[in-house]
């Protein structure tokens, strides 16, 4: 589903060069749930960005949904992501000027999905927020905002979903509800799930756990 071969990311700043990822190999299989763990600054978010085609690698190859993304320009990568890749972010990243329902509708409309309205409503119903469909993000709690984000990520029925610290901004109880929802939806949609997390409970429930250390990947238990 997503594959990285000899992946490397180097940046140069005023104080010299810095290697964030070095010769990293990884393959995510269809429908597989993989957790990437690691300390802050270990490069896990950078890896997620590269795997999702949000950023370009310095060396190596990245494959997403069967296509090589590092050959594509930003618009080509956007076209590849459109409708096939979903995202859930730590700080939710809902559009504050749109209601919950309109936030879910957005990716469907961007891909030109025919029954967009119906699918948005279904997605909101699935995350239990039908009653709050007309509310704006600022009128929702953190957990509710993340549920809207999950509905938005799953509504286009993506092949793979990338989640960056999806429970990072939530309390324990809410976090657990979100974990349940993410994994249940993943099973229902049959999509692969790649998530970056500090949360061992969340990692525990994934099929595979990988640890990032200083730009290298180590397989976990």
């Amino acid at each position: 589903m997503s594959k990285a071969i000899a992946l490397g990311k180097h940046v140069t700043g005023p104080s010299g060069g810095l290697t964030i990822l070095e010769r990293l190999d990884l393959e995510i299989l269809p429908g597989e749930a993989v957790a990437i763990l690691g300390a802050s600054g270990s490069g896990k978010s950078t890896l997620l960005g590269l795997l999702a085609g949000l950023d370009r690698s310095s060396t190596g190859e990245v494959w997403l949904c069967g296509e090589r993304v590092d050959d594509l320009d930003e618009d080509g990568r956007a076209a590849l992501r459109s409708g096939r890749v979903g995202f859930v972010f730590q700080n939710f990243q809902l559009l504050t000027t749109l209601t919950a329902r309109e936030n879910v509708l957005l990716p469907l409309e961007l891909t030109g999905t025919r029954d967009a309205a119906q699918r948005a409503d279904e997605a909101l119903e699935r995350v239990g927020l039908t009653a709050r469909a007309g509310h704006y993000p600022r009128q929702l709690s953190g957990g509710e905002q993340q549920r809207v984000a999950i509905a938005r990520a799953y509504a286009p029925r993506p092949e793979v979903l990338f989640a960056d610290e999806p429970t990072g901004n939530l309390d324990q109880v809410t976090g657990e509800q979100i974990i349940d929802l993410l994994l249940d939806l993943r099973s229902e949609a049959g999509a692969a799930l790649v998530l970056v997390t500090h949360d061992p409970r969340l990692a525990e429930r994934c099929d595979r756990r990988l640890h990032m250390r200083a730009g290298h990947l180590e397989a976990g238990a």
Partner: protein, 848 residues
Amino acid sequence: MKTWRITLRLLNQDWRSGELYLLASALILTVAAITAVGFFTDRVEGAMARQGGELIAADLALESATPVPATYAEQARALGLETARFIDFRSVVLSDAGPQLVQVKAVDPAYPLRGQLQVRDGLEAPETPTTTGPPPGEAWVEARLLHLLEARLGDEVTLGETNLRLGAILSDEPDRAGALFAMAPRILINETDLAATGLISEASRAEHRLLIAGEASRVERYRSGIATSLPVNLRLIDAADARPEFAAAVERASRFLHLATLVTLLVAGAAIALASHRFVERQTDAVAVMRCLGAPHHLLMRIFILRLLAFGLVASLVGCLIGWLGQLGLSLMLAEWFTTDLPPPSWTPVLVGLATGLLALSGFALPPLFQLSQVSPLRALRRDLGPPRGSAILTVLVAALAMALLIVWQAGDLQLAWKLIAGVLGAVLSLVLVVLLLVRIAGRIAGRARGVWRLGLAALARRPTGAVLQISGLGIGILALLLLAVVRVDLLRAWQENLPLGAPNHFLINIQPQDVEPLQEFLRESGVTAQESAQPRDASADVGATRIDPMIRGRLIRVNARSVSPSDFADPRAERLASREFNLSYATQLQPDNRIRAGSWWSGEDAQAQFSVEEGIAETLGIRLGDEITFLVSGREVSAPVTSLREVRWDSFNVNFFVISSPSVLAAEPATFITSFFLPRDRASLVAELVRQFPSVTVLDVDALLAQVRQVVDRGAMAIEYVFLFTLAAGLLVMYAGIQASLEERQREHGILRTLGTGRRALLTSLAVEFTAAGLIAGTLASVFAGLIGWLLAEQLFGLTLTFNPSLWLFGVLGSALLIGLAGTIATYPLLIRPPLRAIRDAVSGGG
């Protein structure tokens, strides 16, 4: 379809969430100001032209030395316009006292189309207005002609082959201005008596006029219809041709109005810039998320451009509507000031308003929008990436270009536009540079200060870009308000004082050399003292007078070696000037209402032979400094070089001349004399006495014309003040935008500071310190620029002298510090009363 749906949804939500209020207000205000002034000047200029039409007794006149072909009158009537005609020629009347040279005007019953004739039944009788000329068999004459003829009303005089009864004293004709300096006294007769006089044949020298009046747009249609194919022997005349005083006042009023609009445009432009910057910045996260969700670059661009255009169009339309309502209110307010109905406005201002709105918005918002399309989707994961760094040069260039285009377009005057652009560029550049410097200094001071002072001053220095943007915005806002004070109060007062209550309202012309001294004696005895100065006296003085100037007739025959012939000139005005005699004069001193624009004035009685020429006429006739010009005076050629070009303030109502020489050129030539003086209404009987004692002197009462010009000035001033209300609103909006710009950045910072235990009172004081410092910097800079721009405008554009105004500085510097300190603190106060956690969380999740 998909693009439109998303665009409209985003637009709708932008609006509902209040994101667009600031930008919308700025845009609506700009368009409203432009259209209100557009609509209003459209109508007022129409009405002024019509009222000015009273000076030619019509809205438009066609003049010819032979009868005006009947087709011109038929065409006018076909368009629903009124027509009238008259013939003006010089002849002789006979009475028992002998022959007397007169200026005959034979009018048809429709004359005058605009304005009124004033007649009297006897020398002491009051004036009665009438809108039609004398009946057949009757002649109305000027009072001085009665003296010259030794006749009384009711007597008969002979004109050509017919006798006419003297029916009334003609004290004023609306189109007299054109013949103000005619030498022979006027006799007005009915057109039907003309044939009986046998004076006019095909070959006679006479001035035939066809008068046209009616609805402004039809008159304009008529004018444009005939203007292109007008034969050379026909001349079109409108009010501006009739009297330079009136034209000058109208032109100055419309300059003021345009200036007011331009200032509004500039200030509102700053508000649009600040608001679009903020709007675009707040879209960064949304764009990053949409990029993540797979929206291609071109789709996002399309969505943003459509969103901007749709928003711009709606806001501009609202602006047009408000502009229309604005002019409606003003027109209602001023309706009774006009003797004629205000003509309806055209639709052009709507188009101008829409185009201005879209151009301003595109200029300020498109470059940041293009930058927005470069946002990396990675920003959705990593907020620390910040907004994309676009080319600042591109942003500034596009905005400057849009602004320059708008200024050139709106000013309608390249010189004014150029000065404004240079002024604004200079002001903005210096403002930014000085603000940067002062912000650095504030940072240095902050390093040594303690507590709230450190917090407040450091807040300025920590965000140099934000601070520069904010203080520049505030500075521009204050600058607008101060300029408002300068232009509204000082400039308008200078303009109005130009035409004080004691401005001359009577001209005495045709004074014979031997009458000069007795006349001076008469005036002195009557309390009207002849003076050396042409400066109108204080209004409180009983009677004021000006010096008595010599007037010599001369025809311009050569400029250098090139002989001057009317046919050499394509410009009809130049042709006319070249064909007629000039009124020349000589003087030792420059009149106070004249200004040397090039070269220098001579000194002393025995200065070398030289001429000073009014700059407008010099340009028309192609006369340059240093040229040797030759006049034919009493059959003798008089030559001298042009050593200065003068600007003449025609609307001062003093006696003025296009061409003046040093005494050595013309003092020996035969001359008549002319003077002007102010006579209060209650001393009008003095004129009758003067006419009795000096029958050859012609008294011209220009009170009506003066009142008309004064009305233009007053009306213009009022209209300008009204338009400046828009500027005031724009200024306040910029200040609000400036304060608003920093609110978001502050939110998180205050949350953190309060979490760390900083008390509300300390934060409030630090805010007050920061905003007061910003107000102080902005106010000082704005005062400097307002003073400078005001002075430049007064001197360069309006030819007025502006005095230093200390209250400007007091208000500018201290007032701004106080006002901004207070307004900023109040605006940011709501941030302080929010729970710190919410402040931090909102700041983290905000933006999207």
